[in-house]
């Protein structure tokens, strides 16, 4: 059965290995260039902010910048592609073509039939995405540490161990949906929608609950404002700078009584005719505090492992469901 599963899976496996090789070659060729750009940062000992800034600007303007965004796209696209092209057809195509009746009437149980398929293709999924994520994470290590943004949602999902868990989840989702829907193309579409919903829900609503966030209310530093806007009606929107090397969840000014400060602006101090800085000086006298909730960068691996655990558990639950379904329904 292992040989037969491999024989059926051979072409997709070769395609995936080829794609992996292309990405690996790109990363290896460009790694030297990134090292050269980084040499200034590596040599820097004190007051390195400008050096780092200049490295990031030069990096993003070079060919490596293109590769950075390309690999980002690849990291996000690979798991759903595996779900759609490896997972969904795995059982659905057999049912659609009637070949499951061939497989299930040889001298092996259908439990073993499914276990072999899930084991082999699941292992290939973990290996392929594991290698890809390891290569990309290593290649982008210097940029990520210079930009101090690897815990922010976009980078977080494309580094470390979570892509492997996403891929295993996508694969099992595809297999299970394929068993339920019994037709390949609708199963592919359903898998894609289901996967996108699950993976988008994570940073939007769930990830922040996986590990305790830091909550602080320091005095509002008027020298560190990202934005200060006043509407026609005098309503104010003040955005403090995001926390460095952290994933900022909430960041807003609050009054001494704890309410979110939204104005109204003092028309004698704030307005288009007032001198520059007059309005900021006035806000500074209100005794506002900053209400900030964030996950510091050092929670990166904690969040990575917990989130990976969540998706691996989902994949395992889908695997259990698929075996249960295989026995419950027959034909």
């Amino acid at each position: 059965m292992i040989w037969f599963t491999w024989r059926q899976f051979r072409t997709p496996a070769v395609v995936a290995a080829g794609a992996l090789a292309v990405v690996a070659a790109l990363l290896m060729i460009s790694a030297g260039g990134v090292s050269d750009l980084y040499s200034g940062v590596a040599a820097c000992r004190t007051d390195c902010a400008d050096t780092v800034e200049s490295f990031l600007t030069r990096f993003h303007n070079s060919a490596s910048g293109t590769i950075y965004y390309t690999t980002m796209a690849v990291m996000y696209a690979a798991p759903p592609l595996i779900g759609v092209f490896w997972g969904a057809p795995l059982v659905a195509r057999e049912i659609e073509a009637g070949t499951h009746r061939v497989a299930w009437t040889q001298s092996i149980t259908r439990t073993r039939w499914l276990a072999t398929k899930l084991g082999l293709v699941g292992a290939a999924t973990a290996a392929a995405i594991g290698l890809l994520s390891w290569a990309v994470t290593a290649w982008a290590g210097r940029v990520d540490s210079a930009a101090a943004d690897r815990i922010t949602p976009l980078v977080f999902g494309a580094r470390g161990v979570v892509p492997v868990a996403y891929a295993l989840f996508a694969f099992m989702l595809g297999v299970t949906v394929g068993m339920l829907v019994r037709r390949t193309v609708p199963a592919m579409a359903t898998t894609l929608i289901g996967y996108a919903a699950a993976v988008a829900a994570m940073p939007l609503w769930l990830r922040t609950h996986l590990a305790p966030a830091t909550h602080e209310t320091p005095a509002l530093d008027m020298g560190k404002l990202d934005a200060l806007m006043i509407s026609q009606s005098g309503e104010m929107l003040i955005e403090p700078d995001p926390v460095a090397d952290a994933w900022t969840i909430t960041n807003r000014p609050i009054t001494t009584t704890g309410e979110v400060f939204t104005g109204p602006a003092d028309p004698t101090r704030c307005g288009p005719d007032m001198p520059n800085g007059s309005c900021a000086d006035w806000v500074g006298t209100l005794g506002l505090r900053q209400d900030v909730v964030y996950h510091p960068g050092n929670q990166f691996w904690t969040l990575q492992w917990i989130e990976a655990g969540v998706f691996v558990a989902l994949a395992a639950a889908l695997a259990v469901l698929s075996f249960w379904w295989l026995h419950r329904r027959s034909s």
Binding site: M1, R7, R101, V102, W104, Q106, S107, T109, S330
Partner: protein, 294 residues
């Protein structure tokens, strides 16, 4: 020795009964024809026999075991499904290798010989084979598995007359040599007439008659005579079909004792006429309902 035993076997899909209250006892070493119109439940019965389906109620035992119960039970039964599905992207040789790797009693010599005799190229992809060739490949896989029972669901339905004859000839050659039991279904009696020595007639989810062909032929008669009621027939004759024209009545009856009534002409039936009598009886049984519905 029984190859298939079913007791009150029932399979329902929701409220629809695909097979109802089927009780059967098929002896070993027979080539069993399962005949009935499309949708009668033939595929359901065969899929229950190979373990593709599980019964809703009742029991089915095949070669002493529960169908599909484990590798040993699976090894004893060879199956070719209605569409004789094959893996379109895999070659003929891949199919044989699959069989070899998943069946403990696989006979590679038999498989290779059959493929060569059929003139199939082992490197040919199954998706490029003709319908007849695919059916032959599926049969080859089922035969090389060396099963004790071969179950074939409408194996010749999609074949042209020549492929049909070759397929049945190959099947007969194999069963004669290995004394494998065979159950094959068809909606055409003519396909089964030459090959079967046991017959099961299935219509509207129910078994109407089952038995060895010789026994069925020896106990069914067509009686023709002056117009009369079924009640006036000799005792022991079960009326299968009754038709009357003017002053004449015609009956198809089943009777274990020979009919000895000088007022009736007694004729032997062909197998096809016998089956048709059972098929029309089940249609007649449904007619009053239809009229009431109108």
């Amino acid at each position: 020795m029984t190859v298939l035993r079913a007791e009150n076997l029932t399979k329902r899909y929701g409220r629809r009964e695909a097979l109802a209250d089927c009780t059967l006892d098929v002896p070993a070493g027979r080539v069993v024809g399962l005949v009935g119109p499309n949708g009668a439940g033939k595929t359901t019965l065969l899929q229950l026999a190979v373990g593709m389906l599980t019964p809703t109620a009742g029991t089915i035992t095949v070669l002493g075991g529960r169908p599909g119960a484990g590798p040993d039970q699976l090894a004893k039964v060879g199956f070719v499904a209605q569409d004789a599905a094959t893996y379109a992207n895999l070659t003929v040789a891949d199919h044989l290798r699959f069989g070899a790797r998943t069946n403990p009693r696989w006979d590679q010599a038999v498989a290779g010989e059959r493929i060569a005799a059929l003139g199939l190229d082992p490197r040919q992809k199954a998706g490029r084979l003709s319908g007849g060739q695919r059916a032959q490949l599926a049969l080859t896989m089922a035969i090389a598995k060396r099963p004790e029972l071969l179950v074939l669901d409408e194996p010749v339905a999609s074949l042209d007359p020549i492929a049909r004859r070759e397929f049945l000839r190959a099947l007969m050659a194999h069963t004669a040599e290995h004394r494998t039991s065979v159950i094959l279904s068809s909606h055409l009696v003519s396909d089964l007439e030459r090959v079967c020595d046991h017959l099961i007639v299935l219509t509207a989810s129910r078994v109407r008659v089952a038995g060895d062909v010789d026994e069925l032929m020896g106990t069914h008669y067509r009686l023709t005579g002056a117009r009369r009621d079924a009640a006036d027939l000799p005792a022991g004759a079960e009326v299968i079909e009754h038709s009357a024209t003017g002053r004449q009545s015609t009956f198809v009856v089943r009777s274990v004792v020979p009919i000895d009534d000088p007022s009736l002409t007694v004729e032997q039936l062909t197998l096809e006429e016998l089956v048709l009598a059972y098929l029309s009886r089940s249609v007649a049984a449904h007619r009053p309902e239809l009229e009431a519905a109108r």
